[in-house]
Amino acid sequence: MSEHIVSLRVYITIFLALLAGTALTVFAGLRDFPGQLNVIIALTIAVVKATLVVLYFMHVRYSSKLIWVVFTSALFWLVILFAFTFSDYWTRCWLGPC
């Protein structure tokens, strides 16, 4: 498997998308949305931006399966870190007064 060279057009497109995401996140951050929607919108935009960087700037889209496995394992452990910690914090009061 030889190296894939990402075209300049793709790089520029991703760059413009990242700029648009930044503008959008500032725009949305200054407005009131019901409930926790502000947090959800901000995180969704951040995840989309990060995904674009990983796939195109970091070439993961064109990389070998091995790189995919390593990258996915990182996300997997991160999910464990968050999920297990929150399962503790959110259920502490279930067992008695706190």
Binding site: M1, F15, V26, A42, K49, M58, S73
Partner: protein, 248 residues
Amino acid sequence: MPDAVPIEHEASHPALQHHFENMEQQREAGALGMWVFLVTELMFFGGMFLAYTLYRNLFPADFASASNHLDLTLGAVNTVVLILSSLTMALAVYSAQVGNRRNLILCLVITITLGLTFLGIKAVEYHDKYVDSLIPGQLIPGRPYNPAVQEHGAPDDKHKLHLLPGATVKHVEMFYWIYFAMTGMHALHMIIGVGVLSVILFFSWRGRYGPEYHNPVEISGLYWHFVDIVWIFLFPLLYLLGRHLEHM
């Protein structure tokens, strides 16, 4: 004794190290090594993001009050600076891949300059917090953590904290601990990145990298983009998530 048969050696690139079969394997191994390192980095920053999330849940009003005191404009400008530097870093890798030494050097110089610009703006922000006595703890000479609080109904003073209902100066300090820990570690990574890219720039100047061999440029780029991704999350979480509460 049989005639000595000359062994056909595959013409190999001078940068090919003896423990690799070929350039492709060397390139793949280098990238994999950097990715494994980035996994550990993700867990490192992940722990701090977890701390942020937990304390934000515990002290929502305090975190919003403190967050609103940060300079949104400087934060947004720094985001754009960093995204632009990621583009020029990607273009540096591209230039190495197509063997354009002049553009490679140019892109690296721009990337390093943008990295230093980011750090400069960050320093201005840190100085603002120093002036307002908002650096947490008691160790800053002459400026222990002791923020001035804006009285209700007083004219806006951007040096004073505007506490939202339910917020306390003590819990606001927790936000600043996390703010300085996360942006400080991020800035340290930027400083290391600028150092790494300076070395890459030196060897690019010497003409070491070309279409066959550019692993160091590529994996330094991976590191640089990772640091960019950390900021992509830090910016909304630290600067934005309390803004919409300000006028309530």
